[in-house]
Symmetry: C2
Subunit: 202 residues, 2 copies
């Protein structure tokens, strides 16, 4: 049976690093930003725009659009959101058909539910997420602690809303995952070795 691993993750928790290392450890494909690039190609939309839309659920953009004076019956933003989601779903299914893989984010756990992927959710406490963000931040980024905390919360709120909108499920609710891992105390390489073992045993 195909080995498909999906990873949901809180912003700053190291979920992406964990996913990449896990794919290396298992010797299987890894998909993350490649998904955005491919969708941009297929829809002929700018990559940055696709990324932006994928982080914002239609429910968040809807009220603004409805309030506009040039509202024409159908909501173009919602249409575009749906277009991107459909393209994303198709792409993720194609990837899962091609070979064993690790897919980070993009509601892949839900999109591939019939393939029964191994669903991981990666999280950490705020202190550790802030520390990780600081280490990875570009030099020109000068958030205060308070701004950084709010930024982390905002990103996760958007991810939660997006996931909820398209899946009808609660993002981060343990029942939607096979394993939830707190990266606050462990090292990613250590965690990856154990998770690889778990996946191989499944």
């Amino acid at each position: 049976m195909a080995k498909i691993i999906t990873i949901g993750r809180e912003f700053g928790s190291g979920g992406r690093e964990l996913g990449r290392c896990l794919a290396d450890e298992l010797g299987i494909a890894y998909y993350d930003n490649e998904i955005i690039t491919k969708i941009a190609e297929r829809t002929e939309l700018a990559e940055g725009y696709v990324a932006h839309v994928m982080e914002h659920s239609p429910s968040a953009t809807l009220p603004i659009t409805v309030g506009r004076s040039f509202y024409m019956g159908a909501d173009p933003l919602l249409e575009q959101n749906n277009l991107i989601y459909r393209e994303q779903s198709r792409l993720i299914r194609e990837m899962a058909e091609q070979s064993d893989c690790v897919i980070v984010g993009r509601s892949a756990d839900y999109i591939l539910r019939e393939k029964e992927p191994f669903r991981i959710f990666v999280y950490a406490d705020m202190e550790h997420k802030m520390e990780r963000c600081r280490k990875r931040a570009p030099e020109q980024e000068h958030f205060t602690d308070r701004e950084l905390k709010r930024h982390i919360q905002d990103v996760d709120r958007r991810r939660g809303r997006y996931y909820q909108f398209f899946t009808g499920q609660t993002w981060g609710d343990r029942l939607n995952y096979d394993l939830c891992i707190n990266t606050s105390t462990g090292s990613i390489p250590g965690i990856v070795k154990a998770v690889a073992r778990l996946v191989e045993w499944e």
Copy 2:
């Protein structure tokens, strides 16, 4: 550093089996019902009574007691609850001092927080918990599906209230654990091998 593993678990999720197997795999002590037996010895209360009190938080018993006509200022049930909790805390700390160990339930994750135990929470979906309960049920137990489901929910609600009362934390909230494992899809032996690896890497 001492290897202390605490396991919180939903009723019927296999948390106890997982704990016992994990202790075997790591070759360390395992504590579960032994705690009730010891508390009963020390407090000279009946074992069944101790078990009952430990599954019911004082907040659940309080309104009934307060309503009684022979209420005498201090609440004897609350007193007894506190006595048992104090004894339990002392005992769990003694156990953790003696040797590496796995401790199931009893708010051990919170009681031993200064020792930074590896905190696991075990859960499963309702269908699998019911199936597991059916397999393990005494022959004379004839719950309908609806009764069994309600029973499982009741036990977990009590565990949640008890934990919340004494720790001020939310039972099952992923942030209080290092690892949350869904046993619905995996086999306990497979999970145990991986978790043992994870604990050894920490």
